[in-house]
């Protein structure tokens, strides 16, 4: 069938299967229908719930402003789909174009979108992870369990890992007057994502809000009592913290296990795809019927030297899903590249933290507006003489200016004056990211080199 006819047929009566019924999957499905896809649409999700929003789970829900059971996403339109919820996809047959499900069913497709996202990395010592009172926070069920426990007035909550999620949990606990300790391997919170300069501000934020923050330490073990409830955490500095709730917040693992042996270029860092969201197979050859979107995708980005980026970003999931959906039903000449500039937000201790670009790629930072001490500022990250990222604390209205600077590859350091420039902002300082070869949690943006195959587990970004 000629390509044009094929796409007409595809739009009219093709079969599209979306694996992953969360934000990216839903927005892709809506886009498909909005663009006139009239064929059959199957949504497969391992959780038994309609698509729901995750960011509120660590924010509004823990603050008591929302119920963990009710963060379902609103719909942009009716998507008229067959829902297979509560059934995980367990395998993919690329040649036969079928997705295998946990219940033994097989679902055939003409076009497949993989949006299986990530899952919380559990506490690595399985026996300790099983103790009552040890939680992770990623899913709605996780949130229900944690929320219930926090409402029961625990004596102390112990958070392992001061990335964004860990910090947000600590913030919510303090808001409710719950004593909280946070253990972080790096020298401060958010260091993996934003570097040591900003990490120092975050550390102060924690401490001023009454968090017992312990940095530069590792948790060596969790101790249970005779009935299997967690009672203490043991740290590498020899200290012991008594606690009845532990939240493990060590970042996320990509849900690609189900693709093992499928022939797709999928691994722990995600599924490699091209700028048009088409998946690569393990040989580095791009497929034309399998697409990827959201947290599970690794895609090359022109602004960052075409390195593959993995983004655990809400906005990326939406934007990439829209591009993937469009490209799935469009002939190659109508396809669009996914060129979203990474953008991220977190709110903790009443401070709105936003970043744009890839801060972790920066080797220097300059506070171009405001002041670190006042915790209201914009910091700009430089890499090889250009602006690569920016971060704001309660200064979000300026960020779109810096977004354009990043897009233009504007020079760094920032030579021009800006309003509210303080003496501290006259010179760049080292951004102070930890050694990238050491594992950190929650950088939320991961650069993973130029190869679609994901062989190197540890990638070291080039530094000059």
């Amino acid at each position: 069938m000629p390509a044009e006819e094929f796409h007409e047929w595809l739009r009219r009566e093709g079969r599209i299967v979306v694996v992953g019924a969360s934000l990216a999957g839903l927005r892709a499905a809506e886009t498909l229908r909005a663009e006139g896809f009239a064929g059959s649409l199957t949504m497969i999700g391992d959780e038994p719930y309609q698509p729901y929003d995750r960011p509120p789970l660590s924010k509004a829900v823990l603050l008591g402003k929302a119920s963990p059971d009710h963060t379902e996403l609103p719909r942009r339109r009716d998507i008229d789909a067959t829902w297979r919820l509560g059934v995980a996809a367990t395998g993919l047959d690329l040649a036969a174009k079928r997705v295998r499900l946990a219940d033994g069913d097989e679902v055939p497709y003409d076009r497949l979108l993989i949006a299986t996202g990530v899952r919380a990395r559990p506490w690595p010592k399985e026996e300790e992870a099983q103790l009552d009172g040890v939680f992770v926070l990623r899913t709605r069920d996780d949130a229900v369990r944690l929320h219930r426990r926090l409402k029961a007035a625990p004596r102390r909550v112990f958070v392992i890992g001061a990335g964004f999620t860990g910090s947000e949990i600590a913030s919510a606990c303090r808001d409710q007057g719950i004593a909280v300790s946070v253990a972080e391997r790096a020298d401060g919170p958010l260091v993996g994502a934003l570097g040591g300069v900003i990490g120092a501000v975050a550390a102060e934020l924690h401490r001023d809000n009454g968090v017992d923050l312990r940095t530069g330490v590792m948790v060596t073990g969790l101790e249970g009592d005779s009935v299997g409830r967690v009672r203490a955490a043991h740290l590498s500095d020899g200290s012991v913290v008594e606690t009845d709730v532990v939240v493990v917040s060590l970042g996320a693992t990509r849900n690609t296990d189900w693709l093992t042996g499928s022939g797709l270029g999928a691994g722990p860092r995600g599924i490699a795809c091209d700028a048009g969201c088409r998946a690569f197979d393990f040989r580095g050859i791009v497929t034309d019927d399998v697409f990827v979107a959201g947290d599970v995708a690794r895609s090359p980005h022109p602004l960052f030297g075409y390195q593959f980026l993995s983004l655990e970003h809400w906005g990326n999931a939406v934007a990439q899903a829209e591009v993937a959906a469009h490209n799935m039903i469009s002939p190659s000449s109508d396809r669009r590249p996914h060129m979203w500039v990474p953008a991220f937000w977190s709110s903790q201790f009443g401070v709105n933290i936003k970043s744009i670009g890839v801060p972790s790629m920066g080797d220097e930072i300059m506070i171009t507006q405001g002041s670190l001490a006042e915790r209201r500022f914009v910091g700009v990250y430089g890499y090889q003489g250009r602006i690569i990222a920016a971060v704001s604390f309660d200064n979000t209205r300026w960020l779109e200016f810096y977004e354009r600077q990043i897009e233009m590859g504007a020079p760094f350091p920032v030579e021009y004056p800006t309003v509210d420039r303080r003496p501290e902002g006259r010179k760049p300082v080292p951004a102070d990211f930890p050694d990238p070869s050491l594992p950190t949690h929650g950088p939320t943006v991961t650069l993973s080199g130029y190869s679609p195959s994901d062989r190197r587990l540890v990638f070291t970004p080039a530094r000059h």
């Binding site: 002041s371 006042e374 914009v378 200016f401 004056p417 800006t418 309003v419 509210d420």
Partner: protein
């Protein structure tokens, strides 16, 4: 030299009724600079939006090098420090945060929402006051007294003092008009300085009273605020109060009047509003795009040379951001000259954007929604007596001076 006259034609009073064809002409030269020392005039949506978020752009008059500096913000001349609208961060942010502490969330989340009933009562009284008249001036009988009453109650300024402060507000507002700004020696500017001093002194009396006996109003809150940002100095309280009193009604009167005028020119939407008050929110947003009460922001400058569309704007230049032209930019809005409350994609510049975006926007929204809903519901068969109506002089705060309507009566 057709350009040489474009700005003059825009600010000229004869253009007031319909400046939009001139704005279209203006957008053809996105960075218009007609004469040495004159302003750089920006008229495209994305350029304006960009500059409103650009940290190289300042609202502080002391950064102006070009002639035509704003005498009104000169403390030497008026005895009052500039209000936050004429300041950059961090001072702008500090003062605005303190002011916001007496106005909106997080500290006063329900102050505006809880005024809805009161606003409706004021509107009802004003419409009831029309009585049996068959011809009304919507401005004098409704669109002016309504927001004045509201801002007086909110701030705690006695409503009956309106004739007194009116005499000071008028010259201050007149001086915002670019025609008069061009000549700082003009009597208009001097009258405005004098008026600002007088208004400040008048408000100082009220503030002094509130310091002794705080009440449930914003003046009291401004005086007693002691948040993490500390409190405002007495002079800061006064310049903030002057700003809020003026901005609190001078723009809303135009929004409401422009609103009724636009609805009478598009009777389908007037009818829709009568049948379904739920459409009011979208109507008001489209009005803010289509007929924004603040047409342009003439108070910005750049603190370094900046380049825009290949034009270098030298440090210290005056920069005008013509919001009303950006709002009709076809690059941004499909069919921009059509009034369409069902428009998708309505991110207008009616309240500006960035850190200086309109402080009182939520109040203006609520006031205008309630006003238009009630006017649509209660005025029986309203008709424009003349179209276009007579306009106020001001090219910045643009709106009809009078809006005479014939009506068949007032419905209960």
């Amino acid at each position: 030299m057709t350009h040489a006259s474009l700005l003059r034609r825009i600010t000229d009073f004869s253009s007031r009724a319909d400046p939009y064809p001139l704005y279209e002409e203006l957008r053809r030269t996105p960075v218009l600079h007609e004469e040495e020392g004159g302003p750089y005039v920006i008229s495209s949506y994305y350029d304006i939006l960009g500059l409103l978020h650009d940290p190289r752009i300042s609202s502080d008059a002391t950064n102006l090098i070009a002639p035509g500096a704003d005498e009104l913000s000169d403390p030497e001349a008026t005895g009052l420090p500039p209000s936050f609208i004429r300041l950059d961060p961090p001072e702008h942010d500090r003062l605005r945060r303190i002011a916001n502490g007496s106005f909106g969330p997080p500290h006063r989340p329900r102050r505006i929402d809880s005024m809805r009933g009161e606003l409706r009562r004021i509107v009802t009284e004003l419409i009831d006051g029309i009585g049996d008249a068959r011809r009304i001036d919507l401005v004098d009988q409704f669109a002016y007294p309504f927001p004045v009453t509201v801002i007086c109650r909110l701030l705690g300024v006695p409503r009956e003092d309106e004739p007194r402060f009116r005499a000071w507000v008028d010259p201050i507002v007149a001086a915002l008009d670019p025609e008069s700004r061009d000549n700082p020696e003009a009597p208009v500017q001097r009258a405005a300085q004098e008026a600002r001093v007088q208004l400040g002194m008048y408000l100082a009396g009220l503030v002094e009273q509130r310091t002794r006996e705080p009440r449930e109003d914003m003046l009291s809150d401004l005086v007693v605020s002691h948040g993490p940002d500390g409190s405002m100095s007495m002079m800061e309280v006064l310049s903030t109060a002057v700003l809020l009193l003026i901005a609190g009604h001078e723009t809303t009167v135009n929004l409401i009047t422009n609103g009724m005028l636009t609805l009478l020119r598009h009777p389908v939407h007037l009818e829709r509003l009568r049948e379904d008050p739920g459409v009011a929110a979208n109507i008001v947003e489209e009005l803010l795009r289509y007929e924004p009460p603040v047409q342009l922001v003439p108070q910005r400058t750049c603190i370094t040379d900046i380049e825009l569309r290949g034009v270098t704007i030298p440090k210290g230049s005056r920069i005008w951001l013509v919001l009303a032209a950006g709002n009709r930019d076809p690059e941004r809005f499909k069919d921009p000259d059509r009034f369409d409350p069902d428009r998708e994609d309505l991110q207008h510049l009616g309240f500006g954007s960035g850190i200086h975006s309109c402080f009182g926007a939520p109040l203006a929204r609520v006031e205008t929604q309630i006003a238009l809903v009630e006017l649509a519901r209660r005025l029986d068969n309203p008709r424009l007596v003349e179209d276009p109506p007579p306009y106020r002089e001001n090219a910045v705060l643009r709106g009809p001076r009078h809006l005479n309507l014939d009506i068949d009566g007032v419905r209960p």
